[in-house]
């Protein structure tokens, strides 16, 4: 990597309100929880905050509550704690599977739910050391003017690669956000926009406090396509939540990551509800994924492969979830 970290100041607020105030007080600051992605990006010269607001010791952020109203996961819960929670593994399996698929065990012990949901977008031409990027003339996302993935275009195509987001999206999550104007709850999908340069639609001093999931009768699963069995970011990731009544599909929601600049819920799957899941339904799912997934050459694997792999994964886990429930 390229040398030392720049000079920084660490601020340690003891509660959420103090964290928001600190973020406002310190210009060019960032929240830090696990830091597994933030510190690497700082050393690559991709971001250069002057202060880090350490939110890792705020108690409110580190709890998991499960009750009749569903599940509430604090944003500071570590990925490892989420992965080994037995009730989540039972009732919200996609969440467990996604958590277990994130990076390596050391990263999971440090990284948090909020950090994974807000993960910066990634690209072959962006996640490199400063001298690498300089030798390549930098890129649209940082310090440069053109996107090496699509030089004719005007936008950045870096891909969102968080594993938890699709699992939470498929299960209908909402996020609780604390900001200057107090707290609000919005659907998780609303915090993302399709822009590799600025994929988060929340203010810089907004802090995700928790993720809420409604109780669910649907079975869910997450599948991740990557080069190696551990550590790697997804080339494509698919989460499916499928409810079955008798032999008919009662509810279906499919969400993707790794293919676009944001994680998103696949549109058009409502047409599959109310009838048994047939070979034709599975073909329709594959077509929907192939149409809506927009992988670009942001990884060393080809975009075409990632589109096909996303479609095949969606088909495979939907079929498995249906077989499991239709007895």
């Amino acid at each position: 990597m390229s040398g030392l970290l720049p000079d920084i100041r660490i601020v340690r607020p003891s509660d959420v309100a103090a964290a928001i105030a600190a973020r406002e007080q310190h210009p060019q600051s960032r929240f830090i929880a696990g830091g597994t992605d933030l510190l690497v990006n700082m050393r690559h010269g991709l971001i250069a905050p002057q202060s880090l607001i350490d939110i890792s010791r705020i108690d409110e952020l580190t709890t998991i509550e499960m009750g009749a109203a569903g599940l509430r996961v604090g944003s500071g819960v570590t990925v490892a704690a989420l992965a080994r929670h037995p009730a989540i593994a039972r009732d919200y399996r996609a969440i467990s599977q996604a958590a277990n698929a994130i990076a390596g065990p050391g990263h999971r012990a440090m990284g948090t739910v909020g950090g994974n949901l807000c993960l910066d977008t990634r690209c072959l031409f962006y996640n490199q050391s400063e001298w690498w990027r300089q030798a390549n003339g930098f890129c649209l996302k940082r310090d440069g003017e053109i996107c090496h993935v699509a030089p004719q275009g005007k936008r950045c195509h870096a891909a969102f690669t968080g594993d938890l987001a699709p699992a939470f999206l498929a299960l209908g999550a909402e996020v609780e956000i604390a900001g200057k104007q107090g707290r609000r709850r919005i659907p998780l999908g609303d915090i993302y926009v399709e822009d590799g340069l600025a994929h988060l639609a929340i203010a810089e001093d907004d802090l995700i406090v928790a993720v809420h999931l409604p109780p669910t009768a649907a079975a869910s699963a997450y599948a991740k396509v990557r080069l190696r069995g551990a550590v790697d970011y997804p080339l494509a990731g698919v989460a499916v939540a499928l409810g079955v009544r008798g032999d008919s599909v009662a509810s279906i929601r499919i969400a993707l990551t790794g293919t676009n600049s944001r994680p998103f819920v696949l549109g058009g799957t409502d047409a599959l509800i109310g009838r048994p899941l047939s070979e034709r339904s599975l073909q329709q799912i594959e077509q929907l994924v192939q149409k809506q997934a927009r992988p670009m050459r942001t990884t060393i694997a080809s975009a075409h492969y990632r589109r096909l792999a996303a479609a095949a994964s969606a088909r495979r886990i939907t079929a498995a979830l249906y077989a499991e429930q239709s007895g």
Partner: protein, 168 residues
């Protein structure tokens, strides 16, 4: 060659008093807020068994235990470890006598060039404290964040399993 970028007024990293328990002993040091744990351990505490491999959280050579949890020290800020218990490979042996896990690595040829070995052993140590009788799958998962460039994985996994089998 440093890259020229617009000069920003940056705050100087302050030094902060860091108090932590290192290999069983409490100690205090003044550390800069931008110092990484791996650099603190190697350069300040002179524990050079902690290796810098990829230097970016991808290879696991710098793995240490923080409160019994195996984590990469190259993506951890030293200043954020205040009050915590840190253990490195140097903290395992007692009076020069290697632990069962270290002996297993020695006897089962779990080390080749040896560069990944301290990280491998600390990752395995973290696993065995949590789960003294792991399956092979458990071992593979626990070591999945540690790379061995000699590719001696089979012997490494065998070493950990042997250490677990011979545990009292």
């Amino acid at each position: 060659m440093p890259i020229e970028s617009p000069q920003l007024e940056r705050p100087q990293s302050q030094k902060r008093l860091l108090r932590l328990k290192l290999n069983g002993r409490w100690r205090e040091d003044a550390v800069a807020e931008n110092q990484l744990l791996v650099d603190y351990l190697r350069d300040v505490a002179a524990l050079t068994g902690v290796k810098t491999g990829c230097d970016g959280g991808e290879c696991g050579a710098c793995t240490v235990l923080i409160d019994d949890e195996a984590v990469p020290s190259c993506i951890t800020l030293a200043a954020r470890c205040d009050g915590r218990a840190i253990e490195t490979i140097e903290g395992l042996a007692r009076q020069g006598r290697p632990t069962r896990l270290q002996r297993a690595f020695h006897e089962k040829l779990g080390a080749q060039c040896g560069f990944c070995t301290p990280g491998m052993i600390m990752a395995a140590e973290g696993l065995l404290r949590r789960n003294p009788h792991p399956t092979e799958a458990d071992v593979r998962t626990a070591l999945s964040g540690n790379l061995c460039r000699c590719t001696g994985y089979v012997k490494i996994i065998e070493s950990v399993l042997v250490a677990a089998e011979t545990a009292p």
